[in-house]
């Protein structure tokens, strides 16, 4: 269908300052980044009419750089840029893998990580990885900036800690502690599923696991998405982080499952205990893509695969 475009305005400020000024003067205005979600909603006739502020020319909001021992990603950075970043591949490798599994190349060329966060889909692919990496968001408005932990940003289905006039400016990934995966080791190209450094290299460093389950590798929206990171000390779990997509009204950090595993010897009884807690922590639903029962089973299987690797 052809939407009634005269109900919409799309303005193009020349800079971030102009964009923030426009958003401050029009509290109902909404930011518009790559358009890969909003244009779909527009075409379906579901985009709320009103003023939209186009952002891609805000160069201040792009780029991936080292900052404070971690890495800072501009909110307008595209999936393609994330996918090809050697800095992210060596330090926060799940992000590149998640980006490579989001849509196809044409979507990755336009879609932005900030847009993916602000779209607030519980089925989004990069947010579980961001939760595991303990990301922080820098929010900016005409009044100034503030920082929020990403894990408290999504407050309910499509509800965010984002005020009118505020934009996501940057996504900051703090140092993980422990050692990072060595620069010389990379997941094999095109790997879409579980991967770990070779055994023997695991001691004392965070090992990441990311797996998206959907109907096909490209273009499919997740049925379940799982991101995990584990830091072993001998046969004991020193620390662990687990996050899932598509199993709750928001992307979910499985804090109670983590708590049950932390400090435990990594053996079958510990895995069984974690499995029981994960089931109580998620709240999957039936929808067009899958069923609650299938999603719960797959979430448990992914937890098991992550812990047994």
């Amino acid at each position: 269908m052809i939407p009634l475009l005269h109900h919409y305005q799309l303005v193009t400020p020349a800079s971030l300052a102009e964009a923030l000024d426009d958003l401050a003067r029009h509290p109902e205005a909404r930011p518009f980044a790559g358009g890969t979600d909003l244009m779909v909603v527009l075409e379906a006739g579901h985009l709320p009419p009103g003023r939209y502020v186009s952002l891609p020319q805000c160069r201040e909001l792009t780029g991936i750089e080292e900052a404070g021992g971690g890495v800072s990603i501009g909110a307008l950075t595209t999936y393609t840029t994330i996918r090809h970043s050697t800095l992210l591949a060596s330090r926060y490798p799940m992000l590149g893998i998640a980006a490579s599994e989001t849509g196809g190349l044409a979507t990755q060329n336009r879609g932005t990580i900030g847009g993916n966060i602000a779209n607030a889909s519980p089925a989004a692919d990069t947010p579980p990885a961001l939760l595991v990496y303990d990301a922080e968001l820098e929010l900016v408005s005409a009044k100034g900036t503030r920082r929020v932990p990403y894990r408290s940003f999504h407050q309910g289905y499509k509800k965010m800690d984002l005020a009118p006039g505020e934009l996501i400016a940057r996504i900051d990934l703090p140092p993980k502690g422990g050692r990072h995966m060595s620069d010389s080791w990379r997941p094999p190209a095109g790997t879409a599923i579980a991967w770990r450094p070779p055994s023997g290299a695991r001691e004392g460093q965070w090992c990441d696991y990311y797996r998206k389950v959907g109907t096909r590798r490209a273009q499919a929206i997740s049925k379940v998405c799982f991101a995990g990171s584990i830091l072993m000390n001998g046969d004991k779990i020193h620390d662990v982080r687990i996050a899932l997509g598509s199993v709750a009204p928001t992307v979910l950090r499985a804090t109670r499952t983590e708590e049950a595993l932390r400090g435990q010897t990594l053996d079958e009884p510990a895995i069984a205990a974690a499995d029981r807690i994960l089931v109580s922590e998620i709240a999957p639903i039936d929808d067009i893509r899958s069923t609650a029962r299938y999603r719960a089973r797959v979430a448990r299987n992914l937890l098991g695969e992550f812990l047994r690797l």
Partner: protein, 156 residues
């Protein structure tokens, strides 16, 4: 009528339309109907064009984002009456059936070969993963792209 100025297939062009109108519609209304609409929601790749050399789905690109850009559509791939190596390969290898997906397939392959003149089949499959063929002629499409790489020793 609002308008944007851009370069389409090397020619300075004025595209008219609402800033939030689909680039797809503006291109087709300008007379370049080689760009196809399939799904209209970024799933099928039939509306693929190059925006400043980068593959995009024109159904998800608002016209405002094309302002000042250089756009290549399927009409800009051939040189005068001479088909591009990729197009010739699609003909020779049976890579086109009903033809609706073909412009998007050719442009996705064109962008791949501009980045990597000698891709393997796995890379071709990744590059074309965002393009659907309702005739399901995928094998011959992949063969066509591989053949084009061999024929041209990369992008001609």
């Amino acid at each position: 009528m609002p308008r944007v100025t851009c370069t389409v297939n090397g020619l300075r062009t004025v595209l008219e339309g609402h800033p939030m109108a689909r680039l797809l519609d503006a291109i087709r209304h300008s007379g370049l109907t080689g760009t196809k609409e399939g799904c209209g929601e970024g799933e099928c790749g039939a509306c693929g064009v190059l925006l400043d050399g980068v593959l995009v789905n024109s159904c998800l690109t608002p016209l405002a984002h094309a302002d000042g850009a250089s756009i290549t559509t399927i009409e800009g791939v051939a040189t005068d009456a001479t088909l591009h190596t990729i197009q010739q390969s699609f003909l020779e290898c049976g890579g086109a059936q009903c033809g609706i997906c073909t412009p998007g397939m050719v442009l996705a392959a064109y962008e791949l070969l501009s980045r990597n003149p000698d891709p393997g089949e796995a890379e071709i499959r990744v590059a074309l993963a965002g393009n659907l063929c309702r005739c399901t002629g995928y094998m011959r499409i992949f063969t066509s792209v591989l053949h084009a790489c061999r024929a041209a020793g990369g992008l001609g």
